[in-house]
Subunit: 237 residues, 2 copies
C-alpha cells in the first residue's frame, strides 16, 4: 500500500518528522501537496472533505481507509506497522513518551518566534519573541537536551530506546537538534558540550545510509520560514 | 495492581486528565504526592531516582516496573489495559489523535497566561498575556471547539469515538471545556452556542454516575493557580 501523506508544501515543518521515518524505512508514500497543480488550497479542501475521523491539522496520513492525524500518532502507527520501534509493551510506550517530549520541545521552539499568535507576523511580535527566546535559551534548551542526554546515558545502546537499531524517536531527536543548530547556532555552541551523546546521535542519524538519498534529494526542503528559523536577535551564547 | 500516580499536589493540572480516567474506571491508584509527609521535593527526588526510562515531568504513572510519562501516553496505556477506548486499530489511534489535539489546546490555554516563560510570574508577563489572550479567544477557542463539534456531528453516538460508552478522550474534553468555562466565562458564553454537542458532552460527563463520588471528594481540587486560571483582564465576549 502506498500512503497518501498530507502536509503544507514549502517548509519541512512538522511533516518532516513523519517524512524522515517514511524515507529511512523505505516506505512508499505520495506527497500530495507537492503533486503537479497542488496548492495550499488543495490541502485545505482535503481537510474539509467528508471523513468520519477528520484531522485537526496537517500533517496527516491516509492509510487505506484510516486517516491518521497528529505527528506522534502517525509515528506510533508507522512504528508498530513497520517495526520502527521496539515491539515490547514497555518499548512501545517508551518511544511514544519520548516522541511526545520531543513534540513539546518542537512546540516551544515554534512559539519562541511566535509567542503571541501563530497567525500573526514575526515582526509584529518581535519584542515578545526576544523575551521568550532568552528563557528558551537559558532554561528550556538545556532542560530538554539534558533530559535526552540522561536517557542516552541510561540506554544499553547508542539509540534512545536501546538496542542496535534506531527508532522513529531517534530520527525526530536528530531533526529537532538539527533545527536548533540552525536556529540557535550560538546557544547550541555552548550547550553541545554538555550533551555529547545527543550530539553524537545527531551525527549518527545524519550519516545513516538509508537517509543519504533523501538528504541529497529535492524532497528535503530548507528550514525557511518554518518551525526552525534563524533570527540573530533571538540567539546568544 | 495498584498504580503509583505522581503529580504535583495543590492543583489539578495535567494530572487531572489521568485522574479522571482512573476515577471513572474505578482503577486503584495511590496519589504519591498527597501522602502524609510528601512535598514537592518528594516528587523531584522520585523524578531524579534511578530509572532506565525516566519521565521528563509529572504526571507519570508507575505500573509495576514500567514508568509511563506524558499525559497522552499514560492514557493510551490505561485505555488499552482497562478498555477505556475502542479496541479496534482505527479506534485506538483515533482516540489517541483526539487526545493529542486536546493536549495542544491545553498547552495553548496554559501559555495564554504564561506566553513568555512558565517559570516566571504571571504579573511579569501580563502585557504579553493580554495580547495572546485576544488571539486565543478570537481564533483558537473557536477553532478547537469547532473541530470537536465537527467530530461529534460525525459520530454515531453521543461520544467522540462513537458508540454508547465514553472513552478517555471524552473525559479529557470535558475537563478542558470545564477549565475554559472557569477561565474564560465571558468568551465561552458566546462560543457555547456554536458548539452545542461539545457543551452537551461536558454536561454528560459531569453527570456520569461513576464520577459523582470523585467530584464530591476532596481529591478533586479547585483550578487555583494551575492551567485554567480566571484573570478578568484576559477574558471578553
Amino acid at each position: 500500500m502506498t500512503y497518501d501523506f498530507w502536509y503544507w508544501d514549502g517548509i519541512p515543518g512538522r511533516g518532516e518528522f513523519v517524512r524522515l521515518a517514511l524515507e529511512a524505512a523505505g516506505i512508499d508514500y505520495r506527497e500530495r501537496a507537492r503533486e503537479p497543480g497542488a496548492t495550499a488550497k488543495t490541502v485545505v479542501q482535503d481537510m474539509k472533505s467528508d471523513r468520519a475521523q477528520p484531522p485537526f491539522a496537517p500533517p496527516y496520513l491516509q492509510a487505506g481507509n484510516i486517516t491518521l492525524g497528529q505527528t506522534a500518532n502517525i509515528l506510533l502507527y508507522l512504528g508498530e506497522k513497520h517495526g520502527l520501534a521496539p515491539d515490547t509493551v514497555a518499548g512501545r510506550y517508551w518511544v511514544n513518551q519520548l516522541q511526545l517530549t520531543i513534540a513539546d520541545l518542537v512546540a516551544e521552539t515554534h512559539d519562541v518566534h511566535h509567542p503571541i499568535a501563530a497567525s500573526e507576523y514575526y515582526e509584529d511580535q518581535r519584542d515578545e519573541a526576544v523575551r521568550r527566546a532568552a528563557n528558551f535559551r537559558e532554561e528550556r534548551i538545556p532542560k530538554f537536551l539534558g533530559y535526552f542526554e540522561r536517557v542516552l546515558n541510561g540506554s544499553d545502546g547508542p539509540w534512545l530506546a536501546g538496542g542496535q537499531r534506531w527508532s522513529y524517536a531517534d530520527l525526530s531527536l536528530f531533526l529537532v537538534v538539527d533545527g536548533l543548530l540552525h536556529a540557535f547556532p550560538r546557544r547550541m555552541s555552548t550547550v553541545a558540550a554538555r550533551c555529547p551523546k545527543v550530539m553524537a546521535l545527531h551525527e549518527r542519524v545524519a550519516a545513516l545510509a538509508e537517509l543519504q538519498d533523501y538528504f541529497a534529494s529535492d524532497r528535503r526542503l530548507p528550514y525557511g520560514d518554518g518551525i526552525f528559523r534563524h533570527y540573530p536577535e533571538l540567539d546568544a551564547e
